[in-house]
């Protein structure tokens, strides 16, 4: 009896256990077989996140390793809308932080239940603010953002990128695939507390770094001088190219109007245009160099041959072509120096269209130069079916379209002895400190001989004549020989289809020093107002750039200086307007609203106040920090100043004559024994006028 009861109880327990196990097994079967995919996807969504790791874009350096473009990681905010408890509240809170309308954020929540960007590439303070909101379903993700720390410097060469770090112009576009690297997706796990772990290691292939041939200091000199010229001449646009004629390296490439690649969208799209390679224009008289190069190389004329320039007008096939000034008999040398159109036409007609055409094409006109910049134009050279009037027009730079890059490359060939180098802006590509092999377009090309070395030497002499006694005396350098050619080409008026009598392309292309050229410089200004000839507006820019660049490159002077003439010339030069230089901050998070206005406004106000209150004086840097106090020399004679300076054990540098008016360092400054003291002498009137003039150029 007792045993029966035990058996019954055991059976009941076993039955309950069996039912329980059956229920569990049944539930498991149901979940695993029928709702497997649903729960799997929910678990994946909750526990895993796939992140696309975008590798850092390679840095772009100048030739001296100075970074011109670099990427740094910044935070972007995204939402997983299915995890957000109160979308309205979240949108309102986020709206206050990122300054976007609440409706826009709500619309983003609605766009997807699993992922939606809220704001990309946030400045640190905004990312911190979002993080502090601690909203469920709102996360921060690191992304790289491109920065151009030198702002407008070399903007047209560097180009810019879009929000997804895709290159849109310049080197950023041309080498996008190399600079960008390869992105990869990785899976990250999360625990119950939504802490991320086990991200794994993404095998990122970093983007290649680019080393340019540009030198940031030469680039700055070119841009500054171009900007000054643009303000003075009120031109519509301008271009400066500085090239090493012996290698084809572009040392500087400046365009106006300029733009800040950090905020490219804020500038009109016209300012993004790299006119150095994309804009074609009729080169005008600078093209006479090609005419003469062809004629002299073919031996059909020589520098001392005399041509009758018909007193300023010649008839070609019934068309009357006038010179800019009536000339009588001119040698070939004078034809170039004085830029006689009639002389150039007569030489070209003697040369003949076929041979002239061959040289035009040999110098690279009508074809791409191959420089590693996007949107390069071929220029325009009509097929060889030239009528005499076309030959005449092309000989003086009309009916032919060239880019500044083509022209500076051709002039470099004359400068270096007749070899045409492929212009290039990329020195090398590097990945992880290793130099990558140059392939395809980046491979160095052997230079091509376009004229004989003797022809090039003759042309260099003729071009020196342009500077010494021709149309370009403003390109005469202090301390170096220089050669070049002016150009003042009339623009075609689109409304009439004829040459405009008021709008010109003023240009100057030259090189220095003559015997061993270190740089070739092209300056072109589009539609200068007032003075419009290349010798008047472009040649002075060439001089300013060439003198600074040659000094920077430590190129030895090849002509003696005349101190008195230089002093006089420089003292007369108009004062430079400091406000032409824009305020610059070290780092800005561009593309985002401005930082607190107070700080920048205060800084600008301070800068303006200093610019007004400080009257820069003629000065040079000397060693400071010594124990000898510099006396006040004002009003003293040269003899007195020399006695005092030598007695103090200092090195006097006396400039000018009469009484001391200026000195450097200033009175009271402490200098070391043997330091150089520069004292400017003149009349008190000179001093007053100088103070009035303000800053010297």
């Amino acid at each position: 009896m007792q045993q029966d009861r035990v058996h019954v109880r055991l059976l009941i327990i076993a039955g309950v256990a069996f039912l329980w196990m059956g229920a569990v097994f049944g539930r498991l079967t149901y979940l695993q077989l029928y709702r497997h995919s649903e729960y799997l996807s929910r678990a994946m969504r909750q526990q895993q996140r796939t992140i696309e790791i975008t590798p850092e874009r390679g840095t772009i350096f100048d030739r001296n390793g100075k970074p011109l473009a670099m990427s740094i990681p910044v935070d972007s905010a995204f939402a997983v809308p299915s995890e957000i408890a109160d979308e309205n509240l979240a949108a309102r809170l986020l709206s206050g932080v990122i300054n976007k309308p609440q409706e826009e954020i709500e619309a983003r929540f609605e766009s997807s239940r699993s992922f939606a960007w809220i704001a990309r590439k946030l400045p640190p303070e905004k990312a911190d603010a979002i993080s502090k909101l601690n909203l469920k379903g709102i996360y921060l993700q690191k992304e790289n953002q491109r920065f151009y720390p030198k702002r407008e410097l070399a903007a047209h060469v560097l180009g810019f990128v879009d929000v997804d770090e895709k290159g849109l112009s310049g080197i950023e576009r041309e080498l996008d695939s190399e600079i960008r690297g390869k992105s990869e997706r990785i899976v990250v796990m999360a625990d119950a507390k939504q802490r991320w772990f086990d991200g794994g290691e993404a095998k990122r292939e970093r983007g290649a770094s680019v080393v340019l041939t540009l030198d940031e200091k030469i680039q700055y000199i070119a841009e500054r001088e171009l900007a000054t010229a643009m303000v003075k001449t009120r031109s519509l646009a301008g271009t400066v190219i500085v090239m090493n004629p012996n290698t084809g390296e572009i040392l500087a490439l400046a365009n106006w109007p300029k733009f800040n690649p950090n905020k490219a969208g804020d500038s009109p799209s016209e300012s993004w245009m790299n006119r150095a390679v994309s804009a074609i224009y009729e080169p005008g008289s600078t093209f006479k160099l090609i005419t003469l190069a062809a004629a002299i190389d073919q031996g059909i004329t020589r520098p001392d041959e005399v041509f009758d320039c018909e007193n300023g007008a010649v008839y070609i096939s019934g068309h009357r072509i006038r010179d800019h000034k009536p000339f009588g008999l001119l040698t070939v040398s004078d034809i170039l120096a004085k830029s006689s159109d009639v002389g150039a036409i007569k030489i070209a007609l003697r040369l003949g269209a076929p041979r002239f055409y061959d040289y035009v094409r040999a110098f690279g006109f009508g074809s791409l130069t191959g420089v590693e910049l996007p949107y390069e134009s071929r220029g325009r050279v009509e097929p060889l079916d030239w009528k005499p009037v076309s030959t005449a027009a092309i000989s003086m730079g009309q009916e032919v379209g060239v880019t500044p890059m083509q022209l500076v490359t051709a002039v470099s060939a004359i400068a270096n002895g007749g070899l045409l180098y492929k212009p290039h802006v990329i020195a090398e590509l590097r990945r992880d400190e290793k130099v990558l092999p140059a392939e395809d377009a980046l491979a160095t090309a052997e230079p091509r001989r376009v004229i004989r070395a003797e022809t090039a030497a003759t042309l260099r002499q003729l071009m020196e004549g342009v500077v010494l006694y021709g149309t370009g005396p403003a390109a005469h350098l202090d301390g170096w020989t220089s050669a070049g050619k002016t150009g003042s080409a009339q623009k075609i008026d689109p409304s009439t289809g004829r040459y405009s009598p008021t709008q010109f392309f003023a240009s100057f292309t030259g090189f220095a020093p003559i015997n061993n050229p270190a740089v070739t410089i092209l300056v072109s200004l589009d539609s200068p107002v007032g003075q419009h000839e290349g010798g008047q507006v472009a040649a002075p820019v060439f001089k300013r750039i060439a003198e600074q660049v040659l000094a920077y490159l430590n190129v030895s002077r090849d002509v003696p200086l005349n101190p008195k003439l230089i002093e006089t010339a420089y003292m007369k030069r108009a004062a430079e307007d400091p406000s032409a230089l824009e305020e610059s901050s070290s780092v800005d998070f561009s593309g985002q609203p401005d930082p607190p206005p107070a700080a920048s406004q205060i800084a600008k106000a301070d800068a303006r106040e200093q610019a007004v209150s400080t009257k820069p004086v003629l000065t040079v840097a000397v060693d400071q920090g010594g124990d000898i106090e510099v006396p006040d020399f004002s009003g003293k004679t040269m003899r007195d100043v020399t006695d005092i300076v030598l007695r103090l054990g200092l090195d006097p540098v006396l400039v000018g004559s009469n009484l001391a008016t200026e000195q450097s360092p200033a009175p009271g400054a402490k200098v070391r024994h043997g330091a150089r003291i520069t004292v400017q002498f003149g009349t008190p009137l000179e001093k007053k006028s100088k103070q009035h003039a303000g800053v010297r150029n």
């Binding site: 030198k150 702002r151 500054r224």
Partner: protein, 138 residues
């Protein structure tokens, strides 16, 4: 009514029964003992492996968190490094330096006559070599 008769009280005697089982000796079977110890050892090994597995599992998760923390620190340090490099590059902007020189320090370019060229004395090239960048002059 029938009245129940009382039962007679019977005396019960409990005697002390002395049992001496000292002579009983449990026969220890060596084979069973070996099996026992083997089972215990095997269980211990299994338990140890299980514990090791559990320890490794949780340790792995713990280290994953630590690794993520370190990765985060590394990323922060790398980001700071990049930001500092960017700031240095910005501070070296030639335009900024030019503005400071002209506006704040009142410096202007020296005249060509102020720049003197000297013949380098013997050995000067050696001393200056490390300051000269080879790619500076074209």
């Amino acid at each position: 009514m029938v009245r129940k008769r009382k039962k007679a009280v019977t005396a019960e005697f409990y005697t002390v029964k002395r049992i001496d089982n000292s002579r009983l000796v449990r026969n220890v079977e060596p084979a069973k003992m070996r099996n026992l110890w083997r089972t215990v050892a095997l269980g211990g090994v299994v338990a140890a492996f299980f514990m090791l597995y559990v320890f490794q599992h949780f340790r792995c998760i713990d280290l994953s968190f630590q690794l993520e923390d370190l990765k985060g620190q590394h990323m922060k340090a790398a980001a700071l490094n990049s930001e500092l490099k960017l700031e240095i590059a910005g501070l070296r902007n030639p335009m900024r330096i030019d503005m400071i020189a002209r506006r704040r320090l009142g410096l202007t370019e020296p005249l060509p006559t102020h720049v003197q060229e000297y013949e380098a004395p013997d050995g000067a090239e050696v001393a200056a070599a490390r300051f000269v960048r080879p790619n500076r002059a074209p």
